[in-house]
Symmetry: C2
Subunit: 341 residues, 2 copies
DNA sequence: TATGATAATGTTACCTGTAACAAAACATGG
DNA sequence: CCATGTTTTGTTACAGGTAACATTATCATA
């Protein structure tokens, strides 16, 4: 009689191991392990016995030993700057739609746009032996680059298709997209276009650059309202009033995202300003709401979910041993005219 | 000369272990381990040497051994039915806002409203030795219940505050909320209120029940339009037309979420139907957009993010060994009158 | 029945950090 | 300079599943 057979009430029964199952059947844990991987490797009478024992004890597989011995977790790390932004929720959805059916687990982390936090989160994700990483932003500290190099796992950077990636980037050209929308508004006769910027991250800076270049190329003077806080509908309204104060003859507003644009648009409606007759308004990203509202919002449609899907697909491909196929994958954006420009 | 000292070019240098660092310094890995946990446990001259070696090799901590030997991962599993729904994005945000500063990692999974998938995802999360689980929905298969019992980790169910929880539930009373909003619309003089339901999950069923009860209590006849597909703005428009066909004198619409309501509202505007004069419209959840739009949407404001935060807080508290304080935590909802009723 | 082949099961070692115990190095006081 | 205490470092074992190798059981055929 082994001690494992004794069940005193004080002893809290911990999660059963393969050994517990094996003891119950009267075989080695190796035999049970074989059964779990391929039942046919085990004699027919044992098959039912083992199956019964597994069921009786409620055995739950344990990946820890495998992670330890093989340094493979079948999990991928996803590191995003924020979870507040709807854009990232859609990216996550895209990633999960690919990663989950492939049998990989997602470890989610975010760093609130702080470089120090980013370092810490990456270290944490690596400490769990994630098999691959999807991160965003294009600039990383030297420490982050070193950690990723040492870890030796595939890394894919998303959101931005311009900056030279660590290994592989999948994103859009934010500058070109902002240029295109600004140019579109100018072509529609707008001259005094103001840019509304929030959350001054790398992508926003790219967009501002595209906007400013387009204005300059057309001999116009850019005006950019900025804040470091997160965007919101109310911020869009606030910005509208600021813009009209600083530049009363403003005839166009291009926002760094749809939230600001919608906020500005509603503020115009409240103030009796006609959109697009008096002021044109354009957003960025093309969330569902922008296409449902009246007037339909002009916006730059970006493939957020596809970006997540593609990132996941390429990551999985590399986990299967394939080399990096394309260093930079530049996804197309689309200028949606809507009715607000 | 040990084999680990040999660095042939063919040999891909894998992630360094504590042993590698120790070898470089000329001590045991135990000493390095001590330094990492508390540098003062190590003599001053060694402190700098070890720090240098760690830096030089770019050592990254490895949680795998600890997970294996202690069966504690410092990770919690979050299992949601879907990532498409904005509600769940906000719940995740709430959870992460608590869990991350506490040094816990989030493992995210979703099951697309399928009970079999839920079983599989829970097994997977448990196989990673998550220390606790936040799951949603209130009904689970026997197998799920057994797995959770065997795993012996704290589990918190969110979204619904009515059904008897496995251990602890944090949510709202969907039926009462739907009753309250229906009653509010009736008090405002509406008689022919139609309910728009999508994604027929448990919570939707509760809401329908609340709506129907309120209608009956007021001597009115309920009419519910249902579909199993996910809700969207366009579905709201489709439902509106269906409703007007089935019941031309419809004077109120109560939607299972804001998306449907906004879709219906815009469809009314397009069709020249005045809201709220001709038809009242109410949504559910109170997303930001509902408060920004014109007219402001009447809606039931639910504390999604707080639900996530609270779930995380209670889970962490239990991970610290505290017992379940309240079996059911019923969070308050709020009827937002808006301008559309 | 003996023989070799094949199928079924068992044994051992390993992955890496750390708790627990052991030993060595060092310091202090008599 | 020894005895004793303290600090610092080393040694051993362990967690649980599985690869790799070893052994035993089974069976068909000579």
């Amino acid at each position: 009689m082994k001690s494992s057979d004794i069940k005193s009430p004080s002893m809290k029964n911990k999660r059963p191991t393969l050994q517990d199952v094996a003891d119950l059947v009267g075989v080695t844990k190796m035999t049970v392990s074989r059964f779990l991987r391929n039942p046919d490797q085990v004699s027919v009478p044992l098959q039912t016995k083992i199956a019964d024992a597994l069921e009786e004890l409620g055995y739950i597989p344990n990946r820890a030993p495998d992670i330890l011995s093989k340094s493979k977790s079948h999990a991928i790390g996803v590191l995003l700057p924020s979870l507040t932004n709807q854009v990232f929720a859609e990216v996550i959805r895209g990633i999960e739609s690919i990663v989950e059916p492939a049998g990989y687990q997602t470890m989610l982390a975010h760093y609130g746009y702080s470089k120090e936090a980013e370092e810490a989160r990456i270290a944490t994700l690596l400490s769990y032996n994630v098999d691959g990483l999807i991160i965003s932003e294009s600039y990383h500290t030297e420490r982050v680059r070193k950690m990723l190099a040492v870890a030796g796992i595939p890394v894919i950077e998303i959101m931005d298709s311009v900056s030279p990636p660590i290994e592989q980037a999948i994103g859009i050209d934010n500058e070109a997209a902002a240029y295109a929308m600004t140019d579109f508004m100018i072509k529609r006769g707008r001259q005094k276009i103001v840019y509304f910027a929030a959350r001054m991250d790398q992508r926003t800076l790219f967009k501002i650059k595209g906007y400013e270049t387009a204005m300059h190329d057309n001999g116009l003077t850019p005006l950019c309202l900025k804040t470091n806080s997160a965007s919101s509908f109310t911020l869009g309204a606030t910005f509208l009033h600021d813009a009209l104060q600083q530049q009363p003859d403003t005839d166009g507003i291009f926002c760094t995202n749809d939230d600001l644009a919608i906020g500005a648009l509603y503020a115009c409606q409240k103030a009796g300003i006609k959109v697009p007759q008096d002021i044109s308004i354009a957003g960025f990203h093309g969330h569902d709401i922008s296409r449902a509202m009246i007037p339909r919002l002009a916006t730059v449609i970006t493939p957020r979910e596809e970006m997540g899907r593609l990132a996941a697909e390429h990551l999985l491909s590399r986990l299967q041993g394939n080399p990096v196929s394309q260093t930079i994958i530049d996804l197309p954006f689309q200028i949606e005219a809507g009715e607000s420009v």
